[in-house]
């Protein structure tokens, strides 16, 4: 079984990414739930690249892609799109939660100021 240089390069980069993501999770620089998609994509690319001799024929006959590495890029691209959409979704949620929290801080600070004033008046009496 022999691999061409491109396949080896892709495998190497994807493997490096996989290890980097694992290391970031280990150091708590990345939460497990956000690392999942990155692991699936980088791991998937490694598996696809290594399994290429078995897949070449399938990709060519079933998908009509004459240059097999572009099938690999397509798979990676779809994964990235999913990750980015997921990130936008998370930003939307966080923005909303952040807004609600900021509003509450403002309202509570106001109540606190009023209570402090009342307390000061009571102490003076």
């Amino acid at each position: 079984m022999s691999f061409d240089r491109l396949t080896l390069l892709i495998t190497f980069v994807a493997l490096a990414l996989f290890i980097l993501v694992l290391e970031m999770v280990r150091r708590r620089a990345l939460a497990e739930r956000y690392s999942l998609w990155w692991l699936i994509i980088s791991g998937g690319v490694v598996v696809l690249a290594l399994a290429r001799p078995l897949l070449d024929n399938l990709i060519f006959t079933q998908l009509g892609i004459s240059y097999p590495p572009s099938a690999l890029f397509s798979a990676g691209f779809v994964g990235l799109v999913i990750i980015m959409l997921y990130m936008s979704h998370l930003i939307t949620l966080l923005t909303r939660q952040n807004r609600t929290a900021a509003q509450r801080i403002g309202l509570l600070q106001h109540e606190l100021d009023l209570l402090r004033d009342d307390l000061a008046k009571l102490k003076n009496e």
């Binding site: 807004r99 900021a102 509003q103 801080i105 403002g106 309202l107 600070q109 106001h110």
Partner: protein
């Protein structure tokens, strides 16, 4: 000066003034509101101002809620709605901090809520020509928005961007839960329509700003129009919000 407006017995009115760096005009606005509706509570939402807006507001006798950083007019207004809802106010009026709205006309908004004719009353600059001059490009934008919203809601609107509005409990409850962000006024109209909140426009007179800077620059206007029209279009296909009573 017109006569101060006496609220009906046992009704509580909150006047909310969203303010971003309005120290120059705030004292005058609060003074005018106090004179126009002596029985109302006044709440300034200080939306992350970098000047003395909070201090000036308190000195003028208003309550001031200071947001920890600038959240935008929509979120600032919603803070007012949350306050009104949680403190059980019957009515809430929003008045801009820059002096464009005429607090004496609060007395023209409120009776429509008292009589139950409407859940939200909007002061429109364009029902009658009362000499308010709008720059032509902005006027064109407002007309497009008005026609667009009128078409989608099948109700006539003339001034969808007017921020001079009064709301009753039903509208306050809804807006405290869901309120659009950025420039919220036109989107809120669509939201009212979806929630069966009755909206009424009445003619008012608006002034030029006392001081400070308008938040709408020519560069942002195009982006604003597109964003608002998209948001409104999406609202028409969004699930209908529950009506809170």
């Amino acid at each position: 000066m017109p006569q101060p407006y006496q609220l009906p017995d046992n009704t509580r009115l909150l006047v909310v003034i969203p303010a971003l760096n309005e120290e120059e005009s705030l004292t005058r606005v609060i003074g005018n509101v106090n004179h126009a509706v002596p029985g109302a509570d006044i709440l300034v939402i200080n939306d992350g101002s970098t000047d003395n807006t909070a201090k000036v507001g308190k000195a003028a006798g208003a309550m001031v809620v200071t947001l920890p950083y600038n959240l935008g007019i929509g979120a600032a207004m919603q803070t007012g709605f949350i306050y009104a809802h949680e403190h059980g106010y019957d009515f809430m009026v929003q008045v801009d901090g820059d002096g464009q709205h005429n607090p004496d006309e609060i007395c023209e908004l409120i009776p429509h809520l008292v009589s139950g004719n409407a859940d939200v009353v909007i002061g429109s600059r364009y029902i009658e020509d009362r000499g308010y001059i709008t720059p032509a490009p902005r006027r064109a934008g407002i007309i497009i928005l008005a026609k667009y919203i009128s078409l989608l809601t099948r109700k006539p609107y003339t001034d969808p961007t007017s921020g001079f509005r009064a709301s009753n409990r039903k509208a306050i409850a809804m807006c405290s839960r869901i309120y659009p962000s950025d420039y919220p006024e036109p989107e809120a109209l669509m939201q009212f329509h979806k929630a069966n909140v009755k909206v009424k426009e009445i003619p008012v007179t608006m002034n030029p700003r006392y001081g400070g800077q308008s938040s709408i620059t020519p560069i942002r206007s195009a982006y604003y129009m597109i964003k608002v029209m998209l948001a409104i279009a999406i609202l028409t296909i969004r699930r209908r919000p529950k009506v809170f009573s």
